[in-house]
Amino acid sequence: MGTASVQLFPEFISETLGLPGVIGEVIGALVAAAVVGNIVLAFTGVAGPWAKRKITAAFTDRIAVNRVGPFGLLIIPASAVQLLAKELIIPEGVDRPTWDLAPIVLPASALLGFAVIPMGRLGPVNLQLADPEVGLALVFAFASIASVSLVMAGYASNNKYSMLGGLRAVAQNLAYEIPLIVTAMSVVIFAGTLQTSAIVGAQTEVLFSVAGFDVPTWYAFVNPFAFVLFLTANMAEIGRNPFDIPEAPTEIVAGYQTEYSSAYFVLFYLGEFVHIFLGGAILAVTFLGGASGPGPESIGFLWFVAKIWGFFLFTQWARSALPRVRIDQLIEIGWKGMLVLSFANLVLTAVIVGVIA
């Protein structure tokens, strides 16, 4: 397993530590997973209490947090303490343990998805935990567990707003995951594999050169139509404007998370942010050349980080600028528009690839 050229992260650790055999594999895997998981969690830690506020403030002519520490950065630990110190209110009549499990399932599913994401190299280290041949299918499978969590939360909360939010989440995810995956299949047809590292590897050639600048074969350039489709479906998948319908704070209070407070609330928020980053990671892998970018391959990880943060920025931009669609309009766009377009794209891609290759 693994591509021949680069060693995977767990193997690198067990080799560096000089631990052979099964024990080495287990320790290497655990350490590597902890590192990757913590990198992702650190992103959300920065994004949630600080970056998101700063970004939104920049969009709306405000300043946002600037009192706690340089640039308000210490708001991050302050918020963490504050949020965890709040009382966890457990409403009467909630369906436990479903109610307790929902906030764990959401971040867990999103974090699991990062297991197969090739995050690029940082020096000698290749930050990828596993590289199975069905990587892309796996990451979509992990990501879609999130909707289960939303339904659990919505149903178990014993609250009508939560219930409506949960129902909306199901309707939305059903309508948008199919176009999302079908559009991703068109990439798979191009690359000829589901293996994430191989998909990234297929995007390193030169598409054409403009004034000495090489445009790579990122699938966003090869098939911009599919890229836009995928981006739109991705916004719905992570539930951000114009598709933030499961939460829709001015309509159904906070949707499925209405009844959650304290640590559970933090877990939901965390899960949502990890989900956004996972959405960005999937987008980067399938359409934006993964960790590729100018400069040596050993700083690829930085490019990867820039890409997923770019996607995060994009979601915040949409949030500031776009109205949200209504639930029936959302379903209509999903089933009557996106689904048809994504299948058209798939068939067209298959025909073109079949004719050329």
């Binding site: 709306t60 707003y161 404007n241 704070p249 001015t250 915040q316 600028a321 109205p323 669609v325 639930i327």
Partner: protein
């Protein structure tokens, strides 16, 4: 001039003298009780519907502006203040006395839908019962309240103890309808989109609204009674700021000023009228900016940039108002007979600040059109949702941008001129869409018209000769309007027709002070707009009504 309204050759618009009206009503009239603003016809309590429908059908009085109820020593009394949408200067009052021991009066609801809430309020606060009313319950006070607070015999020391089971339980059995499989949902009183403490009792079929019933009264602060305990000259003026507290203060103050000045026959110097007009239009811009901001919140979600942009623009007007009045929210700037002080010195600075604001405003409005009204998703969300046909709007007594968004060409600034409006060049804005989008568009276009008015006022004030800058006329220290003088006067506030009814009893305090809140009447139309729509559209419709609970509940 632009203020001319197109001629509509219609019998309904023909002005009738009081005697002709008396002739029309024939033996329905049992007496006369003329008010300062209108002839008043006393009728028997069982002929209300007959009288109102005759006035509506045959004389064209199609706007029931207000129902005032009050108790005298020897009788109860309901007054139906009627006007015409085509010409609100034609007014008539229908006075319905009711027996002290058995205060029952026929309901006007079958003729004017708007009477529903007005009569419920009269029942709640005064204690008059309306026969044939579809739903005579308390509206402002809790259902368990003992006594009627504005009636003469009300015992205010009586403890209001209501045990928990006595309170209406929103989850009672009748909401659980097994056959139609509906869901009852409380939207509010604490909900992000109810713009204050409004409670919508909603019945849903899936995401679709089958029925919605606004439940108000959470912000009832006895404003009418407080005004009745204040002296005309100084003590009442601070209260209007607190009705529509969303920076529409000067507009509200004008409502009281106009009613009290006409009642006590006080002249206002022209210079003061120009300042009032300018200040009032600044308030209108501020109020409409907030309406736009919160509507964007409702439709876009709570991270929308539009909200902050509109708040920033509102802030600029607020700064001007602060310079003018010394206050940012509760201005207390008008006085009977004028305003409290002249423009801030140095005047040139104030004028140039105002002009700067007016210069940048078109750019801002352009930005909102780019960001909001021309956005396809926004149009998809708001066009053809929350439909309010013009005849329904009139029937409910809807006024202001809500009525004008339904194509009802009705604006008191032009139709019942006061202040300096009839000397200035501006247009009444109407849109024919009757939907959420039209109502927003009306507000955005009105901002531009207000800017036009302010610009003209600034020009006038700048050239005003220094020795003629008279900000207040001579007003007696203590005002005692004639005993039993009654008046109903309205102005065009940010949300619509804001009217005040005052009955004087020869003392320096009003015997009855009644507020006609435009939001109160406008909110009544919500079920008409909402039924059959999706939850998000109901929220948008509520946002497009632009209610302020401080004014609804008073």
């Amino acid at each position: 001039m632009s203020l001319e309204r197109p001629d509509t050759p219609d019998d309904a618009t023909i002005e009738r003298t009081p005697d002709e009206l008396a002739e029309l009503l024939g033996d329905l009239v049992v007496g006369r009780d003329d008010h300062r603003n209108a002839p008043g016809f006393v009728i028997r309590p069982d002929t209300v519907q007959q009288t109102l429908s005759r006035l509506k059908e045959e004389a064209g009085y199609d706007h029931l502006s207000l129902v005032t109820a009050q108790e005298y020593e020897n009788r109860y009394e309901s007054i139906y203040h009627l006007k015409k949408f085509d010409d609100p200067t034609q007014e008539v009052s229908v006075v319905v006395p009711a027996d002290t021991d058995d205060p029952v009066s026929e309901s006007g609801e079958p003729v004017f839908r708007t009477a529903d809430w007005h009569e419920r309020e009269a029942y709640d606060l005064i204690g008059i019962e309306y026969d044939d009313h579809p739903d005579l319950r308390r509206i402002l006070l809790p259902e368990t309240w003992q006594g009627h607070p504005l009636s003469i015999g009300y015992d205010k020391d009586r403890p209001q103890i209501a045990t928990l089971p006595e309170h209406a339980n929103p989850l009672e059995d009748h909401h659980r309808d097994a056959e139609s499989d509906t869901m009852f949902l409380n939207i509010g009183p604490h909900h992000p989109a109810t713009h204050g403490v409004l409670h919508l009792k909603t019945i849903l079929d899936g995401e679709q609204v089958i029925d919605v019933e606004p439940d108000i009264g959470y912000l009832h602060r006895c404003e009418e009674q407080m005004a009745q305990n204040g002296t005309y000259r100084h003590q009442i003026m601070p209260y209007p700021d607190r009705w529509d507290y969303i920076s529409a203060g000067l507009l509200n103050e004008w409502a009281y000023a106009r009613a009290a000045e006409d009642l006590a026959e006080i002249e206002v110097p022209e210079y003061a009228q120009v300042i009032r007009t300018m200040g009032a239009e600044m308030c209108r811009i501020a109020a409409h900016m907030l309406a736009l901001a919160t509507f964007a919140l409702d439709v876009n979600g709570d991270f929308t940039a539009t909200f902050m942009y509109a708040i920033n623009d509102r802030e600029r007007v607020q700064n001007l108002l602060e310079d003018l009045t010394g206050q940012r929210l509760m201005f207390n700037y008008f006085r009977l007979g004028g305003v409290v002080w002249d423009l801030p010195e140095p005047r040139e600075e104030f004028f140039s600040k105002t002009r700067d604001f007016l210069d940048q405003l078109p750019g801002s409005v352009e930005e909102y059109h780019n960001l909001v009204t021309s956005n396809e998703i926004f149009q998809m969300r708001t066009i053809d949702t929350g439909i309010l046909p013009p005849d329904v709007a009139k029937n409910y007594g809807a006024t202001g941008p809500v009525a004008r968004g339904s194509g009802v060409d009705y604006d008191l600034r032009r139709d019942d001129p006061y202040g300096y409006y009839d000397e200035l060049d501006w247009d009444v804005v109407t849109e024919d869409g009757c939907d959420n989008y039209s109502r927003l568009l009306v507000r955005m276009r009105e901002v531009e018209e207000s800017a036009k008015i302010i610009g003209q006022c600034v020009d006038l004030l700048e050239d005003w000769p220094e020795d003629e800058r008279n900000i207040q006329s001579n007003v007696p220290r203590t005002l005692r309007p004639d005993d039993d003088a009654e008046i109903y006067r309205a102005v065009e506030a940010a949300k619509g027709e804001l009217g005040i009814y005052i009955r004087a009893d020869g003392t320096d305090k009003p015997a009855r002070f009644k507020i006609r809140s435009p939001c109160f009447s406008n909110l009544q139309t919500l079920p008409e707009m909402a039924n059959g729509e999706y939850i998000p559209d109901v929220i948008a419709a509520l946002g497009s009504l632009d209610i302020v609970l401080g004014e609804v509940d008073r």
